[in-house]
Symmetry: C3
Subunit: 389 residues, 3 copies
């Protein structure tokens, strides 16, 4: 029976024409739908192999480097798990312990740490205009080192969350949908409400909603983005979402009403983020070291947030969804009213009902990361995966 | 000859009926004597395999997570060694780097980090009423995740020191006794003095003495607990030690005289700890963030300690023991007079004479940890260990 | 063709009579020339194996410990890479997290962390008189533990930079020379200018120039050490360099002129360091915790440095070298004028021209470290390396 599931997935994989070999994974929207499907299906196969206690190691030795420019628990452990399963040793680049602040350029450091590196995972999501740029710099640096013969192999760069996209998250979100609704083809026409929600915190990055609207529109879904006035995402990510929807036969629209977004939705994704303008202002102030103005900005932003405490995924709000039982998704940790805060993104009873679904959603992430590295290293993924059975 | 030792140990193991498969290891007193013996004998077999340069790896991949809520050198490295030998990659949950402080519940975090985890080692020993409770929360969380299908495997939780017990230490202490006196059966009737000793420090946890009196009483030993008035251990741990002594044909008594405890002792274990009442008060103040009162408490406690500088394991004190040459045990690091402090737990000359014994005592710990995880994962430990030969 | 290179190197190795088995690697000048050649040639073979994607793992399990008493990016990752390739798990001894500051002696800690350790890499370069002494203490401690039976194996201690020498760096520097000039024998008579250079920073260690003048003089090179008055190295290292030069048929001289050193040089190594007297004064003040005097010393030292901004490796300076195109070496990161600082050790255009050479120079380091550990563990290196083909 287990083998049946693996075989079905291997057959799905065999139909695809992905183009992932030797490539980094930075943004879903740089990739074809076949690439995205291949990353997801290989992840599912790896999860199945793991359940069957069959290893899928592809390296005898080598390092996987992680660079986290923000705090992180789950992404850190997902990456640690992913690279361990592939046979790599994890080395974290701790920018406090290292000499990066002492005049090393990105180009030099990227090469210096990569002599035996097979993968570099980066999380850098706090500053609009920064994270993706930094990842491309690292990618260019190791390309240069590889082409000049300094590096015997080129490490694959994996985006663990940047200012634009959070592909390991959005692909995990989608794998949960695939499992829940029974296949990619069943997602066509399903309505998903990617909605801002109130949180008593400040400065949450934009990459999750941007990633979701740009991935779900690739699969013919009806994507509605909802947020209060002023909580805009980066304009380019709206344009791409729009054209993806058109190309896939789905739809993309925006609204300033959570109710409107939730009405008849098959899936809801209520999640807080900071207004883009605030993030940009914050970046400027942080760089200038202007702490007084930063405190002022935080105060202003929190009080602005407080005008929208009604943007909460309550039981009443859930009743608006299709059959009153849309699937609730979240990247975790959620701000849960009466659990992690007095008032937050989601009512306690709603979250509790979907808790295990959100855990399963998160559970794909280690395998999505493994899959990204695997697909970059193994030209014939199908045969290699079969050999693990 | 080496094989003879392994064979003897394998035969010892074969006689036992342990019940460790699929279990966590949190407290020695939750375990049968056969369980305790099995953990110790498997540890000895692993140590012997290591000496013979024979690997005993049981995992192809997977993570071992450690959560240290206190500073630690030796336990940290013991755990790192133990899980490395079993084939696991180590991932430390650093609560500063992670988002634990930002509203994540224990339940959620425990699952989020465990998708590919086989073991979770926890040290949380500073707050009476906290450490063991936390470990059970983690254990319950991964049980829930496993039963709901979120986790493909349930990581084994190992107590690396809590507020109640320090099983990896006490089992190492006992393995040293087994080796020194030539077998578990030879420990019957041996007198061990678990004695408080003076230290110029403050706030040392209670788990070592509590662990020792509750383990040595399981093996028919005459256990004497000595401390100045006021330096009580947690009451429940005294009750259990008493009933263990009765059940095993040993004895357990308390005294306020170090001399009394040392008189005729076969083994002495002089070690400082904080009075339980102080630890409880301290926990309250720490939680309330009352730093002024904390300084006051520390001052008071150190001055109270200073009334008992005569509680030192001096040469004169050693002369009271059986033949003047009882075995000296310590969990290390010891406060050594004229070495690590002006006046401490033990005289320099005494410590020097037993230094290598204390190192050997500590040397069991990595294998005790390996053994706990191994016994939880491998149903037929005997056959599996034989296969490594 | 690849195999040809490997075979040539294996033949080179076979001619040597090294004496590295069971030894630590602390100082190049404690080693015979055959030892140094063996370390370097094994490193080259490992680099070639890595290019051929052939693993050279020699451990089934075990820890490699690192102790970094200074910040470090490249050495940290070089060590992580080296030990991973050999099959060891990395455990960093973080002196903040550990209890080292709480009265543990070096002897005890070294044993406590080494029960399953195969290697200990140490970087401790800031204090004249300290780093090498500390490494010997650690080495003596594990020798004691091994001889007493506390440790089943003796971990190899590797110097990752001390107050005296930086052997993993200087051997990498020399491997670059071997490659560039086509063999050790071609280095005879080549002139290398090991020159101080201006940097707007303060307190850079002396081990790089000391290591270079004591290694290059072993191979018949003409070594010129140049620095402004007052920027002396430790006197003993000058004496040994002098006698090495005499023994190898090379030469060693000092000058206070960068021009003099560069004139006709085949290789230049312009690099800043602090005057020995300043380092010694600084050590005293740091130990005394005299921060006011430390700030004063830094100010004084930076203003003294500022008298020598003309000690820069400019295009004009390069024109003085043989054919105007001496090889530029650096341990990285370099202080590059208009890149990492307003004025530094080297002109931007010079550095850019040699950038990839410096990356290749650095690229030997992981393999030099692997080689040091490998040679200490494997008696017949030649046969073992052949078995990896």
């Amino acid at each position: 029976m287990e083998n049946n599931r693996i075989n079905t997935l291997l057959n799905e994989l065999e139909q695809l024409k992905p183009n992932l070999y030797g490539k980094d994974f930075l943004l879903t929207w740089e990739n074809s739908v076949d690439n995205l499907k291949a990353v997801m299906i290989v992840a599912e196969i790896m999860q199945e192999l793991h359940r069957m206690k069959k290893p899928f190691k592809i390296f005898d030795y080598g390092l996987a480097i992680s660079i986290f420019r923000d705090n992180s628990t789950r992404t850190r452990f997902s990456y640690a798990s992913a690279v361990n399963a592939l046979g790599l040793g994890l080395s974290e680049l701790d920018e406090v312990k290292s000499q990066i602040a002492h005049g090393e350029t990105v180009r030099e450091t990227a090469n210096m740490i990569s002599f035996l590196a097979e993968a570099i995972g980066i999380r850098d999501d706090m500053y609009p205009g920064e994270g993706h740029t930094y990842m491309k710099e690292v990618a260019d640096a190791v390309t240069g080192g590889f082409e000049e013969g300094v590096l015997a192999q080129r490490p694959t760069v994996v985006n663990l969350q940047c200012d634009l996209d959070h592909p390991t998250q959005s692909l995990s979100d989608m794998l949960k949908l695939k499992d829940y609704f029974g296949g990619f083809e069943n997602l066509k026409g399903k309505k998903i409400a990617m909605s801002w929600a109130y949180s008593p915190s400040y400065g949450k990055p934009l990459s999750v909603p941007q990633g979701v609207i740009n991935l779900m529109t690739r699969f013919g879904m009806e994507v509605v983005l909802a947020h209060p006035t002023g909580y805009d995402l980066l304009p380019d990510t709206l344009t791409t979402a729009d054209s993806f929807a058109k190309a896939s036969g789905g739809s993309f629209r925006m609204t300033n009403s959570m109710q409107d977004a939730f009405a008849g939705a098959d899936i809801v994704y209520p999640k807080s983020w900071a207004p883009m303008a605030v993030m940009q202002e914050r970046t400027k102030l942080l760089k200038g070291g202007n702490t007084a103005a930063l405190r002022e900005l935080e105060k202003h932003c929190l009080s602005e947030n407080a005008n929208h405490t009604d943007w909460e995924c309550t039981e009443d709000m859930m009743k608006l969804t299709k059959g009153g039982n849309a699937l609730y998704e979240h990247c975790l940790p959620a701000d849960i009213t009466d659990v992690s805060c007095a008032q937050g993104e989601v009512a306690k009873s709603v979250f509790e009902r979907y808790r295990m679904h959100t855990y399963q959603e998160a559970g794909y992430k280690p395998f999505v990361i493994s899959s990204m590295i695997f697909n970059s290293k193994i030209q014939d993924a199908y045969s290699k995966l079969k050999s693990f059975l």
